[in-house]
Structure formats: C-alpha cells, structure tokens
C-alpha cells in the first residue's frame, strides 16, 4: 500500500524532526518510531491475524497517534471512540463492528468486557517500521456518525480510499507541506477531518500541534498561532466565528495555508479572517466522511476569488479522479445553474454504510456512463454548477423545507436576514412544526436582544411573504455538536411555539 510505505519512509527520513507537540511537550519522529514499534509488536503478539478491526480510545497523547500508524503497519483498521462520549455509545460502536480488542493509553481502562492493550505500559522493543502487505479493499478505519434512527451509523474507509485521497492532494500543486511546517490538529480523532490533519503532516515530516482536552479550543488555537508560529491551519468555520470579536488583535504572517471544511464558509467572515493572515492561501474544502474527508476545494482569495451563493463561498471543483454530478429526485443529471443534490464518484467512495443495506440503497446508486458502471454517493447537499465549472453550495437537502406548499431554502433566508443587519452576528433559519403539523419558520439570532425591524423590512423586500420567519429567538451562544457544527436540533428546542 503506497501511502503506508510512504509513512514508513517519512518517519525514518525525518527521525530528528518533531512529529507532535502535545500540551507543550515535543516528540520527535524517532520517539514516534519507537512507540509505533512497541505497540505493533504487542498487537502482533496478542491479536490474531484474522482480527482486523481494533478499537482505539482517542486520548491526546503520543501513544494514540502511534497506535493508528501501528495498526496500519499491521494491516488493521482503527475504530476510534472518544473517552468523553458515554461508554454505552462507545460499547455500542464496538458491538456493531464486532471489535474485541481495544488499544487504550488511559491510566486505567473502562473497557472491562474487551481485551485491552494498555499502550502506555509496553516495554521497549527494536524499531520495526516495515509495513505488512495489505489488500486495497481492507479497512483502514471506521468512523461513526449519528444515525437518524438513534443507532450510530458506521462509515468504513479502505486503504485504497485513503491512498486515493493522498494521491489527489499530492496532485494539487497549490498545497505542498514541507518538513518545517507546523500544523494545527484541532479535531477529535473520531471526526474524519482529523485524518488530513495528522496524515498529511506525517507524510511530509512536519510537526502536528494538538489541542489539550478541556482547553478552550479557539483561544488555544490562537495561542498556538501566536507562540508556536503555526504555518498550516485546518479548521471548521465555527472557530473563526468565536475569534471574530478579536480579529483586530490577530496578525499571523507565518500562516501559509488555511483550509476550511465541515461547514459553510461565509464570504464576509472569510474576508475579515483573510486580513489576519497576510501571507496565507485559503482553501474552502468540501467532502463528506463517506468520501474519505475531501473531494475537492475552492481556492478563496479576498480580492480575486470570492465566488459565493447567498454569501456561502463556492466549493469549487472536484479533485483528481473524483467526479461530481448534480441530480434531480430521479437521480438524473440537471443542467447548468440548476440546483440539485450533489453526488460523488471515484476511488475515495466508501464501500457503503456498515451493515446497513437499507441506508445503502437510499444513499448510493449506479449510473451507466459510456458503457461503464459508475457508483455514486448521494451527499444530501444541494449544489449547482456554474458556467466556469465551479460548484456552489445551496444548502442541505434536508434544510430545504416546504412552507405552505412552497419549497424554501433556509440558507437563503439566513442570507437576507444577515445582509442588512447592523449587528454582525450569526443567524440560523429553522423550520418548526406547529400544533397542526405544518412547518413554520423561525430565526435564531446568536446575540443579546436587539431591535430586528430593519432586518425584517429588508427580508420583506427580498422574499415572498411565506419565506419571512414568524418567530425570532435570541440565544447568547448557539449549541454546537462535538464536531463544532451548529446543532440545529437543539436550536429548535428554543422555539416553544406550541405552548
């Protein structure tokens, strides 16, 4: 497996470089090699060859990162669980994947019903970084996301999938990490975005800076930018929403790249953030977990490249070997500038949800193109393609709601609500079901109370009556999911319209 061999070479070649900075402690690639060797030796001693899915408790330490590489060198997949998540849910994840063995660097483990390898207390061994042979269709990791039925939904990713991701990013001339780069890793290892924030630095011999558990993320990130002079940032847009009141105090000339993903990047804040990073290229990445993190990007530039729809920056074009297709409800391709559901095909596509045939039938389809059967994943994201071949994000398929029979795009309401507001605050439009079972529109505003008359006057001048929110709630801080996205479900509970 090419990317695994490249990992080996990079770890050997950059032995004297720092690989990780965890809570102000630096570790070298040599330390990393030692730790990987210890863990894989224990894995090969204790776990039968046939056991391929291995649980991993995601602590913020050297052993946890070394465990991922050790498992890959042993031809196995990691099934990460966050120690902060209730144990019932984590146990459910292990049960769903028939995981029997768990790597845990905690001082004492809570996984009593599993065979636990305590990765912190393994004795020294000789360094061994030679990867075992793996087949491309073997799994590299499985991540779980919340499922609509309440049962977590597993997304398995193969070694071939990861290899294709690495190949696609390599093919991109605008993004090249070097051994002197200092890269932010702000994500939980149970969130797929983390794969690019540890894997790409490891392949380049760069140093990864993590965020201690329990730290206030946005301030810690600023501290790392300021004190450690980070050069590469990979973030969800909600982080810069928090830092926005302090943008005037931020000037980070060392940052070379800033990649966004995992949520809509808005034009106004992108411009202001860009002013804080005078020497930085900004990438707006797009991609679902089901397609191995990234499927493509738009290269944002505050003066020359600001293409957006309703204030949301374009997601640009698909990367190498990936195909985008925008379809209607019959899975037929729609014409240019017509909004439909974005579907993805190519070597990064997951083999399908873990043991979930019903869901797989809904989310994947095969299309005959020039005599070839091409398998597509339906993202649930609404997009359209413009004349330049750029794709623009138009909202979630499930954020499109019907109000009195009309189809309404919630993103559009948000755009008009924000457009003329004197207060630059976050606003989210949301559909609420009333006593009659009909959807009504609400507008959640992340702020102390203020007069919204001018906002409504503007909205009424731009949108038909049925699109004007009937309910307004001021919420001091929006609820966020663990991955930093706005939790719309929780937000909806603020609208007690049926009382």
């Amino acid at each position: 497996m090419e990317f695994v061999k490249r990992l080996q070479k990079s770890i050997e070649k950059h032995a004297d470089n720092n690989v990780l900075c965890i809570g102000n402690t630096f570790f070298t690639y040599q330390d990393f090699a030692q730790e990987i060797s210890k863990i894989r030796s224990e894995v090969s001693k204790k776990i039968p060859e046939s056991e391929k899915l291995i649980g991993l408790v995601t602590n913020d330490d050297l052993q946890t990162y070394a465990s991922i590489v050790a498992l890959w060198f042993e031809g196995k997949a990691y099934v990460p669980v966050n120690p902060a998540t209730p144990i019932e849910r984590n146990t459910k994840v292990f049960e769903l994947t028939d995981t029997k063995y768990v790597l845990d660097s905690s001082d004492s483990t809570v996984y009593k019903d599993f065979e636990v390898i305590a990765s912190k207390t393994i004795s020294e061994t000789e360094v061994n970084l030679k990867p075992k042979e793996v087949k491309g269709d073997q799994l590299a990791y499985i991540l779980f996301t919340s499922g609509t039925t309440g049962l977590p939904k597993g997304v398995p990713i193969t070694f071939d999938n990861v290899n294709a991701l690495v190949g696609a990013i390599d093919a991109e001339p605008e993004f090249n990490l070097v051994p002197t780069d200092r890269c932010l890793q702000m994500f939980e290892l149970t969130f797929d975005f983390s794969v690019v924030t540890y894997l790409f630095p490891l392949l380049a011999g760069s140093c990864i800076y993590t965020i201690p558990k329990g730290a206030i993320k946005y301030f810690y990130i600023f501290k790392l930018i300021k004190e450690q002079k980070l050069t590469v940032l990979t973030m969800v847009p909600s982080i810069i929403n928090y830092l926005r009141p302090y943008f005037a105090e931020i000037n980070a000339p060392d940052v070379r790249y800033c990649s966004f993903g995992g949520g809509a990047l808005h034009n106004d804040i992108a411009k202001e953030w860009s002013d804080c990073l005078p020497n930085c290229k900004i990438f707006n990445y797009y991609g679902p977990t089901e397609f191995t993190v990234y499927s493509g990007f738009y290269p944002y530039h505050k003066e020359t490249d600001t293409k957006n729809h309703n204030g949301v920056i374009a997601i640009g074009t698909p990367q190498k070997d990936t195909q985008y297709l925008v379809v209607n409800e019959q899975n037929e391709e729609v014409s240019l500038n017509t909004t439909g559901e974005l579907c993805l095909a190519g070597p990064q596509i997951t083999p399908g949800y873990w043991k979930n045939e019903e869901r797989n039938l809904q989310s994947f389809f095969v299309r005959n193109e020039n005599g070839k059967e091409i398998r597509y994943y339906k993202t649930g994201d609404l997009c359209f393609k413009d004349e330049d071949g750029d794709f623009l994000y138009a909202g979630r398929a499930d954020f499109q709601v019907k109000i009195r029979g009309y189809r309404v795009e919630l993103a559009e309401i948000e755009f008009h609500a924000k457009a003329k507001s004197k207060k630059k605050v976050n606003m989210v439009a949301i559909d609420i079901t009333n006593n009659l079972g009909n959807a009504e529109l609400g507008l959640a505003i992340e702020s102390e109370d203020f007069d919204t008359e001018d906002i409504f006057t503007h909205m009424k001048s731009k949108m038909p009556n049925y699109m004007i929110p009937m309910h307004v709630r001021f919420i001091k801080e929006f609820p966020h999911s663990i991955n930093g996205k706005i939790d719309r479900k929780k937000l909806r509970t603020y609208f007690d319209i049926n009382k």
Binding site: G214, I216, K223
Partner: protein, 79 residues
C-alpha cells in the same frame, strides 16, 4: 475593590451564566472543575465578567487564562 469582592462578583456572573451555584471558585479552579463550563459557555462567561466590571479583555489575556486565579489577576490589572 479587594480580591474577595472581585471573586464574589465573578461568582455571581458564573451563577448567572451557568444557572447553578454548585461550585467553588479558588485560584486553581479550571473549567474541568465546574459543571457546564466549556468552550461554548466560556465566551458567555467572559462577556458577563466584562459587563460586570465594565472592562474589555484582550485576546492575549484570554489565551493565557488557564484557571480562575488567572481570570482574577487579569480583572485586577484592568480595574
């Protein structure tokens, strides 16, 4: 304003934001020791404390604020 007065006003601000008073504020108290004090409520706590004392924190101060002691010290320096 002496330190006790500052601590007591900070506690009031915390109670208002977190909606419980099931905590003690000592110098070494961190977010891990207080229920509900995390990334999202942190920003609300900062805003509430700023309002209470009529001060405005600098980002440089906020990034080095690791416990309640740091918070009190920063307030003292701003008053």
């Amino acid at each position: 304003m002496n330190k006790e007065e500052i601590v007591s006003k900070v506690k009031e601000a915390f109670v208002k934001v977190l909606e419980h008073d099931n905590f003690e504020l000592k110098d070494e108290t961190t977010a891990n020791d207080v229920d509900g004090w995390e990334s999202i409520t942190h920003m609300m706590l900062i805003t509430e404390v700023e309002k209470t004392f009529n001060i405005k924190f600098k980002l440089m101060d906020l990034m080095n604020m690791n416990n309640v002691g740091d918070l009190i010290k920063t307030i003292e320096s701003e008053l």
